[in-house]
């Protein structure tokens, strides 16, 4: 460490083996500023803890689970009858659901602190891929108990592929291992869930952590236009950072164990291909898409809209913003205001749009001469796109927002919109997927 007075050698304690392992992930010294909890809210670390819990309980579950259509459901049932089998399964379930939530919040934190610009640019893309792997792992794990929920969620989920142009039907058949969800699908999802996705995830996660260090660690608050950052005052990682990480990890583990002890992972009756449950709902993290499917032509609900959103997310770090402040939540006072405006707009506009579509304006019925892909797809999505562009112009003009502030508002509009769709799908859809009170 240049510029620091060397400590007398007698006081220097040799780090323990455990600290040395952690020092492979962290640098030996970290900026004192980086220790504040609100810098990251500990979300990346929480994701790691959940991954460890998932790997451990997953290995235990493998000992009891039998991946065949005849025995899968029974093996999960008998697992629940043993003393701690159900508890282990519950930990796996709650960790998996928690991981989706934590990964999503981590994405929000990284975005709103502006930690996706160079030199962290590529790590944003790796992070998006990891999020896709987390969702993929959750989805493949969903099928394994072979209950009604599993069967129909996966029938719907893989059925969406049919609307991908050209290769869609072939992809769907390849993923299902046949025309319908059946024994082959279970084998394929089992292998994806316990081998392929975890291996890819481990490789990408290692890459992710390495890029965090390459990017200079946690982003620190620096207002723009203040020249090069002052040299940060450094403190030893162990115990300063390690101790704080342990606290977060222990609190999180306690929370997961409490949830697992108090609330059982769902298990419906055994899968019955002849009868869809009513209502048949996807897992909560896909309910946003399912809500879109109620309103739009499937080609738009599963392809055009989600892929536009993913392209927008992947494109974010490669836009030109000029000089921007780093590490400040929402960048500026204008940024904070425009984010609030965007969030408020989505909170009002999405439920209003859903109510209008449900009770007032049914485009395919109004325009029966047009093909449904136009009346229920191109037309509403086109109108939506115009409204979004109008909103962008409004933010730029009315609030004199800089480019990054306007992009931030668009991101907020999209994310809050998706959350609203998810909440409506989970809570406000009853029998026959009609709107109802929870």
């Amino acid at each position: 460490m240049l510029g620091r007075s060397p400590a007398p050698p007698t006081k220097e304690k040799k780090p323990s083996g455990f600290s040395m392992l952690l020092l492979h992930v962290h640098p030996r010294m970290v900026p004192a500023e980086a220790l504040a909890f609100t810098r990251t809210c500990g979300l990346g670390g929480m994701a790691v803890v959940l991954l460890v819990l998932l790997a451990g309980t997953g290995a235990l579950l493998l000992l009891g689970y039998e991946p065949s259509v005849e025995r899968a459901y029974g093996s999960v049932l008998s697992l629940r009858e043993t003393a701690v089998g159900g508890f282990v399964r519950n930990i796996h379930f709650w960790s998996a659901n928690g991981l989706v939530l934590v990964a999503f919040l981590h994405l929000l934190r990284v975005f709103y602190t502006g930690a996706y610009h160079a030199p962290r640019r590529f790590n944003w893309i790796i992070g998006l891929l990891l999020l896709a792997l987390v969702l993929g792992s959750n989805f493949t794990g969903y099928l394994l108990p072979w209950d009604q929920l599993a069967f129909w969620a996966v029938t719907i989920g893989t059925g969406m592929l049919e609307y991908v142009p050209l290769v869609g039907p072939a992809l769907e058949a390849a993923l299902r291992g046949g025309a319908d969800v059946g024994p082959k699908t279970l084998s394929i999802f089992f292998v994806l869930h316990i081998a392929i996705l975890p291996i890819l995830g481990a490789i990408l996660a290692a890459f992710h952590f390495w890029l965090v260090r390459k990017g200079g660690g946690v982003i620190l608050p620096r207002p723009s236009g203040q020249g090069p950052a002052p040299r940060p005052s450094l403190v030893p990682t162990s115990p300063n950072l390690v101790f704080r990480e342990m606290v977060v990890a222990l609190v999180l583990i306690a929370g997961v164990l409490l949830a697992a002890a108090g609330f059982d992972a769902p298990l419906l009756v055994q899968a019955n291909p002849g009868m869809s449950p009513n209502p048949a709902k996807a897992p909560w993290y896909f309910m946003g898409i399912q809500e879109l499917l109620v309103h739009l032509h499937p080609a738009f609900a599963v392809l055009v809209v989600p892929f536009t959103a993913i392209a927008f997310l992947a494109w974010l770090p490669y836009l030109r913003y000029g000089e921007v402040p780093s590490g400040l939540y929402f960048h500026s006072a204008t940024g904070r205001r425009t984010v609030l405006v965007a969030a408020g707009t989505a909170l009002l506009a999405i439920p209003a749009g859903i109510l209008v579509n449900e009770y007032v304006l049914n485009l395919p019925k109004l325009l029966p001469s047009l093909p449904p892909a136009v009346s229920n797809g191109l037309l509403p999505v086109g109108i939506l796109a115009l409204l979004v562009l109008g909103f962008f112009a409004l933010i730029r003009r009315r609030y004199a927002a800089s480019r990054i502030e306007a992009v931030q508002a668009m991101f907020t509009l999209m994310v809050v919109g998706f959350v609203v769709l998810t909440v409506i799908g989970v809570l406000f859809r009853g029998s026959g997927m009609r709107l109802s009170w929870p």
Binding site: A173, G274, N278, V294, P298, P372
Partner: protein, 172 residues
């Protein structure tokens, strides 16, 4: 000796390429060939087999004598995954029970005379026509034959259609 060999490897020909460059390119090309081979084996292994024996609903189902089905009624055949609809005019239609939206199984509701899909709120009428979106097209059909007064449904060939037409109905 070793230095001489290394020098020989680095020596450039008149195009500016050395033996080392040549070997490196050769290795890359071989690597690509190997990768392509592995990919081919993987795809061939995972390619779904053609629809064959062992799958559900792959045979001709004998639904029963014509007189068993009253006009303007719908009878479920869960094993064959279809409904036999006898229209008011006495014609027969075999409707697949698979929703054309995302593949959920639609139940028949006698009270409303519709097939309401429980997954995304689509609805179909007795002829399979779409009453409520998001389903993009009418329920698929299976060919119906009437032989010696017995209704038979061939569940091997699924017929996709946009909407109901008279020509799709089988009469006595």
């Amino acid at each position: 000796m070793e230095q001489e060999e290394a020098a020989a490897l680095e020596a450039k020909d008149k195009n500016g390429a050395s033996r080392r460059d040549y070997l490196r390119t050769a290795w890359k090309a071989l690597g690509l060939v190997a990768a392509a081979e592995f990919a081919t084996v993987l795809v061939a292994y995972l390619w779904p087999r053609a629809k064959g024996e062992g799958e559900q609903g792959t045979a001709v189902v004998e639904a029963g004598p014509v007189a068993e089905f009253t006009p303007a009624s719908v009878t479920a055949f869960p094993r064959g995954r279809f409904y036999l609809a006898r229209l008011a005019d006495g014609g027969f239609l075999a409707l697949s029970s698979r929703c054309t939206h995302l593949g959920c199984t639609v139940p028949w509701n006698d009270k409303t005379q519709t097939f309401p899909c429980p997954c995304h709120a689509s609805a179909f009428d007795m002829t399979g026509n779409v009453l409520e979106p998001p389903a993009p097209r009418a329920l698929d059909l299976f060919p119906v034959r009437i032989e010696a007064g017995v209704v038979k449904v061939d569940t091997r060939s699924r017929i996709q259609r946009q909407r109901f037409e008279r020509s799709q109905v089988t009469y006595l």
